[in-house]
Symmetry: C3
């Protein structure tokens, strides 16, 4: 799965940059920027590995992951001093990272022959936990809890990958389609501001819960 590894690395880089931007918004110093970058990029996989008792952790066994997160965060820290990265661009890149982590996390859990519910939870958790812990460290209510198409995109992708492989589809093809499912849902959600109104109570419609920026 060399292609998936590269996509995973891209996901690490993108999530690290998103973490750096969040840190900059909170006026963290360089150290804080690197911590938030690292945690955003590798937190999801780390929690998955801890819960499943996988050892060593992915970024301890493969330093490329750790270096990619740190270098990407540092680059964004420097870059942010010179140019203003359009937030919309980050959202689209973030969607690709979410897709990569969801698919690779789901496949890692499938490889451990876990039950379907756990596989799907681990896939989703791999995709979204980095952002959750990032927001907690920045002392904010994780925004994901208020905008469910983010998690729903990851969930849909994880369900797809699980059932596709269960029904005999090859790992590569299932991953490729799964990536596209997550990306398309997120792109659509970003473009048209989708949410799941059927499940939302009226308070969720309030303007304050739909900030223009993440």
């Amino acid at each position: 799965m060399t292609v998936l590894y590269w996509i995973d690395l891209f996901g690490v880089a993108v999530f690290a940059m998103a973490g750096a931007i969040e840190a900059a918004r909170n006026r963290f110093d360089l150290f804080g920027v690197l911590v938030l970058s690292f945690v955003s990029a590798l937190g999801g996989g780390t929690l998955r590995d801890l819960l499943l008792d996988v050892s060593p952790l992915a970024w301890i066994g493969d330093l490329t992951l750790a270096y990619t997160a740190l270098v990407s965060g540092f680059a964004m820290f420097v870059l942010a001093k010179f140019i203003r990265v359009p937030f919309q661009m980050m959202l689209y890149a973030d969607a690709i990272g979410l897709a990569a982590f969801t698919v690779s996390g789901t496949q890692a859990a499938i490889a451990m022959e876990l039950p379907g519910l756990i596989v799907i939870m681990m896939g989703m958790l791999s995709g979204i936990f980095g952002g959750i812990i990032r927001d907690i460290m920045a002392n904010e209510i994780p925004l994901i809890f208020r905008r469910d198409v983010y998690a729903t995109a990851s969930l849909t992708g994880a369900i797809w990958v699980y059932y596709a492989q269960k029904l005999g589809m090859s790992m590569s093809l299932a991953a490729l389609i799964g990536l596209n499912i997550v990306i398309i849902i997120r792109f659509a959600a970003i473009k048209w501001r989708l949410s799941l109104p059927a499940f939302l109570n009226t308070a969720s419609y309030r303007k304050e819960n739909h900030p223009r920026e993440l």
Copy 2:
């Protein structure tokens, strides 16, 4: 310990509902509700298993626990749209959940033949950690830190179960009495608003620290 397993399941259900209510108060969407329900209900046991290096985690080894948490949280999410659950009722139910988790957590640690201090800490942690992590995710100072009869009830139950079994009492009887100890202390604390004044500094008497609702 079939009876204890059922009490444990009841604890999962009750804690999941309390998590759903907390999520609703913060206007989380369905996804956030399910996450907070799951974390409230299974967070304490998960942390205990991680600290003690138990693998697989309880809810990975026994999916009934995971489904109970998710279904209970979802049910409360739906229910909260139609009726207003009296908060007082939730507090009493929560006390039973606290009792169940304290007792089962203590017995799990006893079974691993750990030293007394660790057994008691693990029992208490199993009971209270779900609520702590829930409050952190909702970006609040964990209320438990300001109202010590909650933790004290759990601590008393854990100490009881540890010494009762050490002194030769049967597991079932020690558990049954332990459950009652925690429940009675919590019920009394809820009814008469007990706290431990001897240890509190004057600031703790301020009105703001005794909100009417959890």
Copy 3:
């Protein structure tokens, strides 16, 4: 390494007291004080052990650590009712704890023959994580993220210990010098309010980011 063990115990005591003071500032009750003391003192080592899959955890295998944290936190809780501990004194003591944890954490990781990047990260994490999780539990943005000479001191010490031992210096001597490096950097930072201006953006110069007290 008997000397290092004693320094480590001193670190546990000092961090526990710092946690108790933070708890008192937030008007936690006795239970909250003990939890914050414990987490501040043993959180860094616990996270390191979890990430490296070390079992049992240090404070489960050696109860002296757990008791030291609890007794120190309790003592500070009582003491705080009678005298006012000068904050400046705590900062200096805290620097010694940071030094002890950084050095012992780095050496623990070296003993596991991990790659240099991971060794240094684990050393730094052992030193600083207790304070980070303490601030998160007290619902504050971890102050360390805004004052990088704290983390930088730990980082410098970890790098020193790693390369000193790699270049053949004896463990004891490397530890002793490493302790002094961290302590001197922190003492200087406290005395002259050092920060790393080259990496800070202008917002970091704002007064609000340089509170007089930790």
